[in-house]
């Protein structure tokens, strides 16, 4: 099994900067390659940050489309996954601002509380870690995932979210503290 997987993994793979150059020239196939390569982490990030909201697919779609439109400005870093995650984070933040306004309008009009949460999240949030993650605010959850799962530096997170680096440090500290408290409470 491992030998076979290693053989598959050994296949020569085009570097991300080359793919971005091809996308900048308008090659649709190159965008398909970028999507195939990074869809899973981007989708996973967006799904976890938004609590598996119904518009996860649309956010992932918008992330890759935004990346394609900005391909000519790509800074040439070896792996573009952090860059894609940064775009996704910005889109989630913008969507949240608009979405909160929309929910507030609905709530005031109907007197009810609307929700966008997919019922499948109940199934997916089966582990303690996912439950604890769900308990964080979206800002803390996003910051923690960007740092610990996606491997972005605090400076990169600050630039992507448009906040001071001190805010990133504060959110990370609070998020870890709450996560550990929640995990200890369930164990």
């Amino acid at each position: 099994m491992s030998a076979r997987r290693a053989r598959i993994g050994d296949a020569p793979q085009e570097a991300d900067p080359h793919i971005m150059q091809r996308i900048a020239k308008g090659e649709i196939g190159a965008l398909g390659e970028l999507y195939d390569r990074h869809r899973v982490p981007v989708h996973r990030f967006v799904a976890r940050v938004t609590g598996h909201a119904e518009d996860v697919d649309d956010l992932v779609h918008a992330t890759f489309l935004t990346a394609a439109k900005s391909a000519a400005k790509y800074d040439g870093r070896a792996a573009c996954r952090p860059w894609l995650i940064g775009i996704a984070a910005q889109l989630v933040r913008r969507r949240r601002t608009a979405f909160v306004r929309f929910l507030a309008a609905i709530a005031s009009a109907t007197g009810q509380r609307a929700t966008s949460v997919d019922p499948r999240a109940t199934l997916d949030a089966r582990s303690d870690i996912e439950k604890a993650l769900t308990g964080l605010t979206e800002a803390k959850r996003m910051t923690l995932l960007m740092a610990e799962v996606e491997g972005l530096s605090c400076q990169e997170i600050a630039e992507a979210l448009g906040v001071p680096i001190g805010t990133v440090w504060t959110r990370l500290h609070a998020a870890r503290k709450e996560m550990r408290a929640a995990m200890e409470g369930t164990s």
């Binding site: 598959i8 965008l31 989708h43 489309l65």
Partner: protein, 341 residues
Amino acid sequence: VSTCPRRFEAEAMRDGRLGDAERASFERHTAGCAACAQEVAALEDLAEALREGGASADDLHARRERTRLLAAFDRELVTPPRPSPARRVLWPAAVALLVVGLFAFWRSRPPAFELPKAPSASVVVPVNEAVWSKRPDGEREKIVLERGELLIRVHHGAGERPLLVVLPDGELEDTGTTFTVTAEHGRTVRVAVEEGSVVLRLRDREPITIRAGAEWSAPSRPPAATPPHSPTEPTAPAAATRSAPAAAAPPPSGASPPLASSDFRAAMAALDRGDNAGAAAAFASFAARHPRDARAEDAAYLRVIALQRVGDVAAMKEAARDYLVRYPTGFRSAEVGRLSP
């Protein structure tokens, strides 16, 4: 655990808040301080748990989403950028001047030779309600085929433009030929070349050159008992079979009889209502009864997820291995591979 006044530095070090000297100092300190060493380990444990989580079965529409993304990008490419107000005024004037200049130049020079033919355009004949579009793309001509069959003829000429056919799972490059390409259920199933040659590039496969008179057919989905590299599923380079008669080619996978659909719906319903054991059995049954259905890979994958939710680790790993054997380059092979180390 005893406390240590330097314990907070564990998180500071992790977040890059320590300078080189401070970091080296803390690392030396950690070697002899149990409290700080435990804090460093606890932070890493949390990160490791976060990295392991997040698996989701909610990516069934990934292939469709891929096609939607490529189509959206294609539309973006052909939509002209909105000019700035200044350009809006200047461009018409510049174009008018250019037209006048060219006309004057043309009138002043009698034709000394016959003008070459305009860059050739391809002729596309859709078959079987094909869903496709054709747009110029810089120096190339681009055809996007979502599904169905196209007969394409590219005229030869001095000014011909290369042709690129964008497929749901790859692309096909041509420089002047006549060929037929068919895509169904999100993948390319057949390419037949009458003259010239084409290069077929499919995801996760080596490029395949198909020459005049040759036909390439997608390998059929292997049945349940078929080993991964049996002759019925050749590897990519060998898949370009020469002159394989069209009638002998297997029917495109993905033909979904009503029974298959109802079986799949029943399995999904079991999964949705939390009957994970029943869902695992139903997906296994589906994969065995409908191995060539387009959803067979989904079924194999969802069986793994259902068993994971049941908590039967051994059965889950066995199902994961089964998935990887059947679909070694499958759409979810990376995710399933992590479940079956």
